[in-house]
């Protein structure tokens, strides 16, 4: 079984059923299947071969879904690119994994590889006949998701067909997805949450409701979208849900169609979660955990467990056939009440990072510290390194620091995440040269070089950085300064 066969199978069973609802309206499984074949033939004409990497630089919607399918059908791997990222970063990703083509509406200058435009290169004149089987295996690369990298460059997490299928098959069964369901597509396609949205929908013959990127900062519009489109399954980072609850009227409107809310990517503030549970008592709440490298590797059913506003929600136990272990600092296995780093191995664990040797069956040390609870569930307690989650986005602070250090007025910099939940803020502590750059100048510099979610929120200037006894920047002291 290959990942793209989820759609072909459903297109054969339920050709006229709607598969996606985007700005242009509803599209059926048969339409998406035909469009993917047309795109696939265009890719073959461009000499895209099995094993190649092809980028997708498109807004979320029918064309980007068809592009993913087309790329998989010719045996290549797709790489979703962030349309909101600066061009320099897009170019860096294109070059990093040596793409053979990019599918895009507006070909950027100097992208360095051939581009294909959905409106012209994949015309309706092309054949809708199925693409010849490229003879690929389930452990072959299916897609690469680029995440923030501590060295200042994004790194590509490589996932196979088997990795994705192991997760999607578990997830669809866990949620009890059926053809009646309408699944939100809130996450951008270059984030791993979108894998559930897209492929669990295909597996179940359900319908995907595209949430446009432009609505991401408008909680009221997101709540309206749920109500107006009868969304039954919502999956997003907690930050989006907290905003929808506190500013968007989610708890007051309580959309009747909504039956399951899944969240992942960061800790849900317990108070907010308890309020949501009380206001939406019939909605099932699921907490899924897993970095991009493992897909979802643990899960926890929140609904029957939440008894008060102070309950820190566990991340649960291993799922998808994975094994998770908690390794103490001394290398031993953590027992009940002890903490350690969560290590995952199993069918959903990725092949590795692009540029390293890719292999199935790897063991992944997450860098996440967890505590073993008496129930056997795990509870997230923090990170071992400088990776943070800000409004659900995974950020290596070192990547922002490396970028700001290239600003001509910055001599030394440390970036700290202050606060939590929707209040989390990125504060840059800067030792400047002759003149202190304005916050606006530094924001602009970040915007020109980093994804939007990595733009700093505030700047503090220091003449000297606080240091630990061994001379390192004292980040704990900086955090105190940021909170003052």
């Amino acid at each position: 079984m290959m990942l793209h066969q989820l759609l072909t199978r459903m297109a054969a069973c339920r050709p006229d059923a709607p598969v996606v609802h985007d700005k242009a309206g509803e599209h059926s499984y048969a339409e998406l299947d035909a469009r993917a074949n047309q795109m696939g033939h265009a890719l073959l004409d461009l000499k895209v071969k099995p094993g190649d990497r092809v980028g997708i630089l498109l807004p979320k919607g029918f064309d980007s879904l068809a592009a993913m399918q087309a790329i998989l059908r010719v045996g290549a791997a797709y790489v979703p690119l962030d349309p909101l990222s600066p061009l320099s970063r897009v170019r860096a990703v294109v070059a990093d994994c040596s793409m053979s083509a990019v599918i895009t509406e507006r070909p950027p200058a100097d992208i360095g590889v051939p581009t294909l435009e959905p409106t012209t290169d994949f015309s309706s004149m092309r054949s809708v006949q199925p693409i010849p089987d490229p003879d690929r295996k389930a452990d072959d690369l299916a897609y690469i998701l680029y995440t923030s990298g501590s060295t200042g460059l994004p790194k590509g997490v490589c996932l196979s067909h088997r990795n994705a299928l192991a997760f999607v098959e578990w997830a669809a069964a866990e949620v009890g997805l059926s053809p009646r369901d309408r699944v939100s597509s809130h996450s951008a396609f270059h984030f791993d949450l979108s894998v559930f949205d897209i492929y669990a929908t295909y597996l179940a013959g359900a319908q995907l409701v595209i949430v446009p990127e432009s609505l991401a900062f408008l909680p009221g519009a997101l709540v309206d979208l749920i109500s107006n489109n009868d969304v039954s399954i919502w999956y997003s980072v907690p930050s989006a849900l907290v905003l929808m609850a506190e500013q968007g009227g989610l708890l007051e409107q309580a959309p009747r169609s909504l039956r399951t809310v899944i969240f992942a990517g960061e800790v849900f503030p317990p108070n907010s979660l308890f309020r949501m549970h009380r206001a939406l008592p019939l909605v099932r709440l699921l907490n899924w955990y897993g970095p991009t490298e493992t897909n979802v590797c643990t899960a926890f059913e929140v609904s029957g467990w939440l008894t008060g506003p102070d309950c820190a929600v566990p991340i649960g136990t291993a799922v998808c056939g994975n094994n998770v272990s908690v390794v103490r600092e001394d290398g031993g296995q953590a027992r009940v009440g002890e903490r350690g780093m969560l290590v995952c191995e199993g069918p959903t664990v990725s092949l590795g990072y692009w540029g390293s040797e890719l292999a199935a069956g790897q063991r992944f040390s997450t860098g996440d510290m967890v505590e073993v609870l008496p129930t056997g569930d795990l509870r997230y307690v923090g990170r071992q390194d400088q990776m943070v989650k800000v409004r659900g986005h995974r950020i290596e602070l070192g990547e922002i620091e490396a970028t700001l250090l290239t600003h001509p007025a910055v001599t030394e910099v440390a970036v700290i995440a202050i606060g939590s939940g929707i209040e989390a803020r990125l504060v840059a502590f800067v030792r400047a040269g002759a003149s202190e750059p304005t916050l606006l100048a530094l924001k602009r510099y970040c915007a020109e070089n980093l994804p939007r979610y990595m733009i700093i929120d505030a700047v503090r200037y220091l003449r000297e950085f606080p240091r630990t006894p061994n001379g390192k920047v004292d980040r704990a002291r900086l955090k105190d300064l940021g909170n003052e």
Binding site: K23, F217, D224, G248, T438
Partner: protein, 117 residues
Amino acid sequence: MNSEDGGAFLTPLKNFIVNELLDGRDAGFDEFTPLLEWGIVDSISMARLLAFVRVQFGFKVDQSAVTAANVVNLAAFASYLTRIRPGVTVKQARDVGSEVVPEAHSQSTSPPDAPPT
């Protein structure tokens, strides 16, 4: 930019953004500075900005009716406020801008780029 284009809103809004959302220094900031693209306005600061509009100008803007295009920069936002401020008739709104928003905070107004319902 004249008052019909949002000129009356510009200075107070600019002062608020520079002092509350930035670091008080306005060098390089003008009505065409990208607010979303440069991370000056996000979902959190948007709520603060709309609260400021309510207090300063005396009318409420429904957050769900604000689209990304309306806050792409200060000029666009001021122009949007001009079109939706109370007392502006549909005809006047048409005269000023292409987007017609008859009331300041119509709950039924969906953003133009929301998916079809």
